[in-house]
């Protein structure tokens, strides 16, 4: 199944769609999502809760519920260590199991609860190694110690014997990262890994991820709703709204000149110290809420909340994702008009 795939990328998601079957019928969670990630690159997935960013990442790990409850279409091309391209969307479950945590790993939001409270962390990391590598316990523990050093945990030999409740949140997230990196994955999906941490610790974890990425050359898909974090870590950004990509591009053009009104809104909702100093402390918010996925508005799903919505157009047809500039895509009927006004 060696599909044609851009030689430079490690992950190539095409037309991914996920929908869940509920009592109220088929509910689409993600439609028509396509993106690629290159080795050593960080792609940030940005959006409000319910925008489909987590579902997208779960789909890539093939951890959405099995067939009758959820359906997954499209393709998720992944270049393995052996150079072979596989479509994760159609891979057999046991083959997928061999990929997870091995070639493609994930860390997530809650370091406090993501470690098993009854096992020593050394054993937990060692097991993560042993899921995929045929090594004995001692070799796995040695590797665990090495990983603890890698993620910057002091006295690694001693810490191997600690239980999760001995560690603070930042330390636990470091342990989670160590587990995720146990088998040198080529793609790491980080689902809001810093959201639950103190600000100072957040910075350390981001720094650590960047450093590890430089050293290992892995690709990172970073899911967040914090645009400050995006500016800090991402090379490219993908903004999602109501299950669709609404804007995608390099981090600088996208944050400096957002084209989609939604991205604009997100940027304006970031608290800023310098504005507060000038007495402009009132923080803007995007009015309304993310639409209920069972009752999506007609046309552009953002139009009920959009200041630029044009009746008869935005509420009729779903805009296509078009290329505004080189490698800067936007899904909006009116981006030209908006851009010319703002300019």
């Amino acid at each position: 199944m060696a599909a044609d795939m851009d030689a430079s990328s490690v992950l190539d998601v095409r037309n991914l769609a996920v929908s869940f079957r509920t009592d109220r019928g088929e509910v689409p969670a993600v439609h028509d999502v396509s993106f690629t990630v290159k080795p050593g690159e960080t792609l940030a997935l940005v959006g409000e809760s319910g925008s489909g960013k987590s579902v997208t990442s779960l789909a890539v790990m093939r951890l959405t519920p099995p067939a009758p409850q959820a359906s997954l279409t499209g393709s998720i091309l992944f270049r393995g260590r052996d150079g072979q391209v596989r479509d994760l969307a159609t891979l057999a479950e046991h083959e997928m199991q061999a990929m997870r945590g091995n070639e493609i790993s994930m860390i997530f939001q809650e370091p406090m609860t993501s470690l098993n409270p009854v096992h020593r962390i050394g054993d937990q990391i060692a097991e993560a190694v042993r899921y995929h590598r045929k090594v004995d316990r001692q070799a796995a523990l040695d590797r665990a110690e090495e990983l603890l050093v890698l993620v910057g945990i002091p006295e690694p030999r001693k810490r191997l014997k600690s239980y999760p409740h001995h560690l603070s949140g930042g330390m636990r997230q470091r342990v989670m990262i160590a587990m995720a990196l146990a088998c040198d994955p080529s793609v790491l999906i980080a689902d809001e890994p810093t959201t639950a941490l103190d600000v100072t610790v957040q910075a350390q974890i981001l720094e650590l991820l960047k450093e590890l990425q430089e050293r290992t050359g892995m690709a990172v898909v970073f899911i967040t709703h914090n645009l400050g974090v995006v500016a800090e870590i991402a090379d490219r950004v993908m903004v999602m709204y109501a299950g669709r990509i609404v804007e995608r591009g390099g981090v600088v053009p996208l944050l400096k000149h957002p084209l989609m009104p939604y991205t604009h809104g997100l940027l304006r909702s970031v608290p800023r110290l310098e504005l507060a100093a000038f007495g402009q402390a009132k923080l803007e918010a995007i009015r309304g809420n993310v639409p209920d996925p069972t009752r999506m508005p007609q046309g552009c799903s953002f139009h009920p909340r959009c200041d630029h919505a044009e009746l008869g157009r935005c509420d009729r047809t779903i805009p296509i994702l078009e290329e505004a500039e080189a490698d800067h895509l936007v899904r909006c009927h009116r981006w030209r008009a908006i851009a010319s006004v703002e300019a």
């Binding site: 199991q97 997870r100 945590g101 809650e110 009854v118 945990i153």
Partner: protein, 301 residues
């Protein structure tokens, strides 16, 4: 590029290690404060020691027939607890019966805990159709009056210590299965279960290495109560004549032999009855104590 662990060590407020006593220690402290449970432990240790060592200390064999001292009342001669209608020493028989009863109870507990845990964990982990089928099967077995089920099985199979143990185990695992199933159903939703899935762990690994250790408290409690139930069940079946067969003694069949002499030699019924009560209540007390000690999840954040 060597790693900067040392830098972190100096400036990182996060890396301070929180000192906390192991929760196992705390559970043990709570357990020790539970008076009835400690009494239970004391009695069980005493019973086990007595049945293990006692028969060697008593000058009579449990099968030795002292024909001139039939129906000897307690404290009336060489036989401390008296003798039975055949003149066998009651103390020796009680202790030998205790060996069998406790062994049957313990072995039946081990088997039914294993069966119950496996069925419960599979049902709880997979849920949906598999879970529904397994748990409805559990409900169906629970619908049978257990004593009839045991008697019917015992009537079909030639009774011996091994078969009685198996029969009791086969009818006693449902409670454990229910406890485990409900535990696993909540545990599998926890983040560390998902995390293990993300790391590429197999279902079997997640069930038995990640989830079950977290459910060990309730399993231990259920298992303890299971011993009590198994001892009682063995006594029942032996009393009704389908269990441990004479001349081997069990507390149940000793009661059976005693019933026609209730008026003339009440001690024949009182002592085995007392032993059953002691063993069963002690295990129940231990079970209660363990439940209180382990179920308090207050200290696990």
């Amino acid at each position: 590029m060597m790693v900067k662990a040392v830098d972190y060590l100096e400036e990182d407020p996060v890396l301070t290690v929180v000192k906390q006593p192991r929760s196992a220690n705390r559970a043990w402290q709570r357990f020790r404060r539970h008076r009835l449970a400690m009494f239970g432990v004391f009695m069980i240790v005493l019973l086990v020691l007595a049945t293990a060592v006692g028969p060697h200390l008593i000058p009579f064999d449990d099968l030795f027939i002292d024909i001139r001292n039939r129906f000897a009342p307690p404290l009336s001669g060489a036989h401390v607890l008296g003798t039975d209608p055949l003149g066998r020493d009651l103390a020796a028989r009680l202790l030998m019966a205790g060996r069998i009863s406790l062994t049957v109870g313990f072995a039946a507990m081990v088997i039914s805990t294993i069966i119950g845990t496996v069925i419960g964990v599979v049902a709880g982990f997979y849920g949906r159709i598999v879970g529904t089928i397994l748990m409805r099967f559990v409900d169906a077995i629970l619908c049978f009056p257990t004593i009839f089920l045991v008697l019917a099985l015992a009537a079909l199979i030639k009774p011996s210590v091994v078969t009685i143990t198996l029969i009791i185990a086969a009818t006693g695992w449902m409670e454990v299965a229910r406890v485990v199933e409900s535990q696993i159903r909540t545990l599998r939703e926890r983040d560390f279960a998902t995390a293990a899935l993300m790391m590429g762990a197999s279902d079997r690994y997640i069930m038995f290495r990640e989830l079950i250790p977290n459910a060990i408290g309730p399993i231990v409690v259920a298992a303890t109560l299971c011993i009590a139930r198994a001892i009682l069940m063995e006594a029942y079946v032996s009393f009704l004549g389908y269990g441990i067969q004479p001349p081997a003694a069990s507390w149940g069949n000793m009661l059976n032999n005693a019933q026609q002499y209730l008026g003339s030699a009440p001690w024949l019924a009182i002592f085995p009855g007392l032993m059953i009560t002691l063993a069963v209540t002690s295990f129940n007390f231990i079970g209660d104590g363990l439940r209180d000690a382990l179920d308090a999840r207050l200290d696990v954040s």
